[in-house]
């Protein structure tokens, strides 16, 4: 928090709006969204599925230009520019023809030649995340959780400061998912990268983040921004604290309401 006042935020989104035109109808998707990820902060966005979170990610990644508003990273305006974020998608998207080691180095490779040190670093990290012995394996031989760890490592070793994680655990089974959450918590607390985490799992958001933005259903707007008060390093026990449960209840209520609104809109015949 002190950091935030002296150095510019890792990501600052100011009043971003975006709508798409489809069959002569304008569909607003993002409605005046503003949010901030400070240096070394873990920030989550939570909202009903189909609320325009991936459009926001495309805006941050520079694939989509917003109709209004700006994206700033580390103080510089980067609206519509690509290559400023590191990214972990929902599916691991490891390239099947690359070994795990080469996959993990892909993001670095895209931004310049990979040095011998970087390769050694990648190997050390692979061992650290429990993938020792799989350096030369191809992705299809790994389990879903292992693939996601490799995909996370690929994002972590990418040179950009801001990491955007797009519902990275939503395709995993419940047990693997909670394992991965704890794993991510440990690794993040050790490294403190700036993270923008997109999810629709409330407990996951509360466990991991310093701040949570609650998005409305489409067109997405920021409904609430909550600071998560629990001290770090956090342990899993925090999920049983009364405060945690209270926050969880509060968030669930908001989410349920948004879900209801969305269903009502759907039944009203208007398209999403």
């Amino acid at each position: 928090m002190i950091n935030q006042e002296t150095t510019p935020a890792a990501l600052e989104i100011v009043s971003v709006s975006k709508s798409f035109t489809e069959k002569r109808r304008t569909l607003p998707v993002l409605n005046d969204i503003s949010l901030t990820v400070g240096q070394g902060e873990f920030v989550s966005i939570i909202g009903p599925s189909g609320s325009g979170k991936s459009t926001l990610l495309h805006v941050i990644g520079g694939l989509t230009r917003p109709d209004a508003g700006t994206v700033r990273m580390n103080g510089a305006e980067v609206t519509g520019q690509q290559g400023h974020i590191s990214y972990m998608p929902q599916q691991p998207a490891l390239f099947p023809w690359r070994t795990i080691e080469d996959n993990v180095l892909l993001a670095q490779e895209v931004h310049g030649p990979v040095s011998r040190e970087a390769r050694e670093d990648a190997r050390r990290w692979l061992a650290k995340v429990g993938l020792a012995g799989f350096e030369k394996a191809h992705p299809h031989t790994l389990s879903g959780g292992m693939q996601q760890r490799a995909a996370f490592l690929r994002a972590l070793l990418s040179p950009q400061e801001l990491m955007c994680l797009d519902e990275p655990f939503s395709a995993l089974d419940a047990l693997t998912r909670s394992d991965m959450q704890r794993w991510l918590l440990d690794i993040w607390e050790e490294n403190r990268r700036s993270v923008l985490f997109i999810t629709h799992n409330i407990e996951e958001a509360l466990l991991l983040s310093s701040r949570i933005y609650v998005f409305s259903s489409r067109p997405a707007a920021v409904l609430h921004a909550i600071d998560v008060p629990f001290p770090r390093p956090r342990r899993e026990e925090v999920t049983e604290a009364p405060e945690f449960l209270q926050l969880k209840r509060q968030l669930s209520e908001w989410m349920r309401e948004e879900q209801r609104k969305m269903q009502a809109a759907q039944q009203g015949g208007s398209r999403l």
């Binding site: 990644g61 694939l63 990214y87 998207a93 390239f95 191809h138 990418s158």
Partner: protein, 252 residues
């Protein structure tokens, strides 16, 4: 090895059975040798003629490999250009398909008129039959790039060239190889057709020669050689594929 044998023995038995029936029927119905020789006659002829045949086999093989290499290269280049310039693809892809409605055998005499009886028209014939399966397969493979991986590459800021080299091309390799395999078998056929129309050596020329002498047994020998050559080309590409696409998980 055991599983390999498991796959091989049923077609092998079928072939042996087929040859046996052929042999029996020719002797049972006393079919004249110049209409349909028995497999044993063909084998005998093959053994007797083998010395003089090498020259022809070698000529055809050279022509095939040469033409196949040129055809495949041109197919890949066409696919690349059409893929990178969408407007060109829109304009030329239908013409590409249309071009395949012209039978090669009808085009070949024209090529002889234009380019004489040398190597060039023969290479053009083989190129014409080879480039198409390669180009179409490569274009198809390049178009079907995994959207999730594509989105990932764009999100991390990869440029068009990097996306092509690191994602689209390796992703398309399996389909490119299936196109090349088809081209490999076509190339032998292309070479034979080219030799029919004007050559002084080669298996195609040998066939024409034996046809005029009603040496059906020798024509069968030629057909056998063509089959072997096709299998050889196919096997070679299949081996290359196995090496290049060794990352691909085995089915089942």
């Amino acid at each position: 090895m055991r599983s390999w044998w498991k796959n091989v023995w049923p077609p092998l038995v079928a072939v042996i059975f087929f040859l046996l029936v052929w042999q029996l029927l020719t002797s049972l119905f006393h079919i004249e040798q110049w209409i349909l020789p028995a497999p044993s006659d063909i084998a005998r002829e093959a053994a007797a003629a083998s010395g003089g045949l090498w020259e022809h086999v070698w000529a055809t093989l050279k022509l095939t490999v040469f033409g196949f290499a040129i055809g495949t290269a041109i197919g890949l280049v066409i696919a690349l250009i059409l893929h990178l310039i969408p407007f060109l693809k829109q304009a030329l892809y239908p013409l590409l398909i249309l071009s395949q409605n012209i039978p090669t055998i009808a085009l070949a005499p024209l090529l002889m008129i234009w380019f004489g009886f040398g190597l060039l028209p023969k290479l053009i014939v083989i190129t014409l039959v080879c480039f198409f399966p390669v180009a179409v397969a490569a274009l198809g493979g390049l178009k079907q790039t995994d959207p999730v991986m594509m989105n990932y590459m764009r999100m991390i800021g990869a440029g068009k060239g990097q996306i092509f080299a690191k994602l689209e091309l390796p992703h398309a390799l399996p389909s490119i190889f299936s196109g090349i395999k088809i081209a490999a078998t076509y190339s032998v056929m292309g070479a034979i057709i080219a030799e029919w129309l004007g050559a002084d050596k080669g298996i195609g020329y040998y066939m024409m020669l034996q046809k005029s002498g009603y040496r059906t047994d020798r024509m069968f020998v030629a057909i056998m050689i063509i089959v072997v050559l096709s299998l050889l080309m196919f096997g070679l590409i299949a081996l290359l594929e196995k090496w290049f696409v060794r990352w691909k998980p085995k089915q089942g």
